[in-house]
């Protein structure tokens, strides 16, 4: 399917659309600009419809189970005052006093978004960031998007018809290089979400003059220093692990312990495993979910036997979850789905070890006594992390935060200097 000019069209119209797209885009660029306030008020109206329950039918039809609770969590992001705040924080003052001339902030023009598939709603979210900055957005949808994005885009243009010429979406496979190349050739910037494969592929497809904005895969971890007696925070961390299943860039993959002592690592695992089990039992109460958790934990155990033989690691098996205490210190992907890794990393080694994962670091969930916080925050930020949160809130968004160390809206704009 394709979304263009406010309507859904069959794939068979793709070649004709690609042929005429350049003219359509230049027409839009020559027309009136898209004001941020137009987008903000459209989103506000959409939010009101959501609150009134008018969209519940659509959500049930297109979004997977659990989407409703996720929507409730991110609903605040649509509030006008927060969107205005986001614009103000990220873009700052567009024309500060200068000794000579002045500057104006303009949209890049046309953005091609290669949207991610690891979380529902993200394809629509990346398009919204493009709209807020006044760009025309071409969306390449991820495999497995079951129509949710099309539904959101349709709702948006229905709410605010002025958005129509600024939104296009294509359900083309990543392997369709010809189409992607044609789309990239029309874009001023390519926004790539995804793993190394997607990022490298788009670097090849985009021409040298095209701006690359890459939101690659990142890794999150927890850093625990002095965890004894902090059960509430450990419970929150356990809940985070079984709720995100390790699938988000901000999810905790490795629990680092501020110690050299492997024995202390074992004691931590023995204490933390029951907490993780309780969180898993609550999260996976339905048989379908329990079966998945059990199967992944069993698979993790088999891989521990088959692939990690002779490495002197200790696996702590729980019902529907597990902890594996490893000897090395590297930050790496965990076995996911409630199966976390535990490693010893004394404070003094934070920078040398984490530097090796630079460019991959994202969120760290910090659990420590208040008097140690400042020192650890300093070390972790120098090591290259871009978010530091309480251990249980690694994947919670907060207003005004950056994205992987940058303000995305700023990257979707350019500065025009006027020396007139």
């Amino acid at each position: 399917m394709i979304f263009a000019e406010g309507a859904l069209r069959p794939d068979s119209q793709l070649p004709a659309l690609l042929d005429s797209l350049e003219d359509k885009l230049t027409d839009t660029l020559a027309g009136p600009p898209l004001e941020a306030e137009t987008v903000i008020s459209a989103l506000a109206r959409l939010g009101e419809r959501l609150d009134r329950g008018e969209l519940d039918g659509l959500i049930a039809q297109y979004a997977p189970a659990g989407a409703r609770e996720w929507l409730d969590e991110v609903r605040w992001m649509l509030r006008p005052e927060l969107l205005r705040q986001k614009l103000a924080i990220e873009l700052g003052d567009a024309s500060p006093a200068r000794p000579f001339g002045r500057a104006e902030r303009c949209p890049l023009g046309v953005l091609l978004h290669v949207a991610p598939g690891n979380m529902e709603g993200l394809p629509a979210f990346t398009a919204l960031e493009g709209l807020l900055t006044g760009n025309i957005n071409l969306l390449k949808l991820p495999r497995g998007d079951r129509g949710l994005t099309f539904a959101v885009l349709s709702l948006l243009v229905e709410t605010e018809p002025a958005l129509t010429p600024f939104l296009y979406a294509f359900d083309v496979p990543s392997g369709d290089r010809d189409t992607l190349k044609k789309l990239a050739a029309l874009a001023d910037g390519v926004v790539t979400w995804g793993g190394d494969g997607a990022v490298s592929a788009m670097r090849e497809l985009a021409g040298p003059g095209c701006k690359l904005i890459e939101w690659g895969h990142r890794l999150g971890f927890a850093y625990l220093s002095g965890w004894e007696g902090r059960t509430g925070e450990l419970e929150a961390l356990a809940e985070h692990i079984v709720t995100t299943n390790g699938l988000l860039c901000s999810s905790c993959q490795v629990i680092y312990l501020d110690t050299e002592d492997f024995g202390e690592g074992k004691r931590f695992c023995n204490g933390f495993l029951p907490i993780l089990e309780r969180a898993s039992a609550v999260r996976n109460a339905a048989p379908g979910a329990a079966a998945q958790a059990t199967l992944y934990a069993y698979e993790t155990f088999l891989e521990h036997i088959a692939d990690r033989d002779g490495l002197d690691e200790v696996m702590f098996r729980g019902t529907g979850c597990s902890l594996t205490l490893r000897r090395d210190r590297a930050l790496e992907l965990s076995p996911l789905y409630g199966n976390a890794l535990v490693k010893c990393l004394p404070r003094s080694q934070i920078i040398p070890v984490l530097r090796r994962a630079r460019g991959r670091l994202q969120t760290v969930g910090l659990l420590c006594p208040p008097e140690r916080r400042e020192e650890l925050v300093r070390l972790l930020s120098r090591a290259g992390v871009t978010r530091i949160t309480p251990a249980g809130q690694m994947s919670a968004s907060f207003p005004g935060e950056g994205h992987d160390g940058e303000y995305p809206l700023r990257r979707y704009c350019r500065v025009v200097d006027l020396a007139l």
Partner: protein, 374 residues
């Protein structure tokens, strides 16, 4: 070695108690073979605390090292060098990852009598030539999926006159052509020979609905058949729509419910499961099915829902002796099915991970519409 052939050449394909002794012997042989020839399997057995001496009765099958399908997706396991294998097949992975399973010649030799015997028993084998419409992939040298081969193989159950495929390989990708298939069916309806439609359930559903939208309906010859094959994913989603699918097939093609057959199997467990006339998958003597508790993985008694564990000593090339699938299912005693077959039958309820599966009642199937497929 011969224990396997003795099992697969036995004369009563649904006599489970009568085949227990042969089954156990074949399992022991197969397990010993993999322990000798596959280092990963040997390591897993040791890690799980299993050795051959624990296999004494048919009740000991639960002790076999059980490998999840995910393990096959992440590890290319084999118990013999590739040059000794007859073929190498992949599952049609839905999330970009797939299992790779090698088949040995002895496995092929054992499959032939199984397929023929069950094919005759279920009325699939016929000497009358037929026109074939395959709502699946046209075979191609780049396509190694088991389901493509299975569907092609099914076109030999009655001598094939011609084959029309719904998925064509063009420029490196498969493109669907349901309209072309609908036209082919119109041609087949004028043929003096019966038609056989081999289909993924979801494709049949979409194809029939498309035909209905276009106002097309044909009257295929009365001995025509629909054979549904493909991933189980499609299978349980189809549970929801089954009666509607049957009614649609009758309306659009003139094929009655009694001529709709369903098959299943998996690349990691290529046993030829057929539905009986009551649309139940009775377990044939070449396999045993255990249902395991979703928390403890302990085997459950008949009638309780859990993870489906499939066991068969069919393959020497790959250690697929005991496979944990991604499916939740329930096993019922054969006596509960009016068809007369005494072997227990398996109903797939859904895939793991679906949060909506809350009970094992038949009503659970209703919830599965949110799964995949239809």
């Amino acid at each position: 070695m011969l224990a396997r052939q003795r099992l697969f050449w036995l004369s009563k394909p649904y006599d489970l108690p009568g085949s227990d002794a042969r089954f156990l012997r074949a399992v022991r042989d197969n397990c010993a073979y993999h322990l000798d020839h596959c280092p990963e399997y040997r390591a897993l057995a040791r890690g799980l605390g299993f050795d051959l001496s624990q296999l004494e009765t048919i009740g000991d099958l639960k002790r076999l090292p059980m490998l999840p399908t995910l393990f096959f997706k992440r590890h290319a396991l084999s118990s013999m060098p590739k040059w000794r294998m007859a073929m190498y097949v992949t599952s049609s992975g839905t999330s970009g990852s797939f299992s790779q399973v090698g088949f040995d010649w002895g496995c092929i030799l054992a499959e032939v009598p199984m397929i023929l015997k069950l094919g005759f028993l279920h009325g699939l084998v016929s000497p009358v030539p037929a026109n074939y419409a395959v709502l699946g992939y046209r075979p191609n040298k780049n396509n190694r999926t088991g389901v493509t081969r299975t569907m092609y193989g099914l076109t030999w159950f009655a001598p094939p006159l011609r084959r029309a495929y719904a998925l064509h390989y063009r420029d490196g990708a498969y493109v669907p052509d349901l309209d072309g298939t609908a036209k082919a069916l119109e041609r087949f309806a004028r043929s003096p020979f019966p038609t056989r439609i081999i289909a993924f359930p979801s494709y049949l559903w979409f194809g029939l609905r498309r035909m209905e939208e276009l106002g097309l309906s044909v009257k295929l010859r009365p001995d025509s058949k629909i054979i549904l094959a493909g991933g189980w994913k499609q299978h349980y989603a189809q549970e929801v729509e089954k009666p509607r699918l049957y009614a649609l097939a009758e309306r659009v093609l003139g094929i009655g419910e009694e001529n709709i057959h369903e098959l299943f199997g998996a690349v990691e467990h290529p046993i030829f499961y057929n539905t009986c006339k009551c649309h139940h998958f009775h377990v044939p003597a070449y396999a045993r099915v255990l249902i395991r508790d979703v928390n403890t993985l302990e085997p459950l008694p008949m009638g309780q829902a859990g993870l489906v564990n499939l066991i068969s000593p069919l393959m020497n090339a790959t250690p697929t002796l005991s496979v944990a699938t991604d499916d939740l299912g329930v096993l019922e005693p054969g006596e509960k099915c009016p068809c007369g077959c005494k072997a227990p039958y398996l109903t797939i309820l859904g895939r793991v991970g679906l949060r909506d599966i809350t009970t094992c009642a038949a009503g659970a199937a209703e919830l599965l519409g949110e799964g995949e497929g239809l």
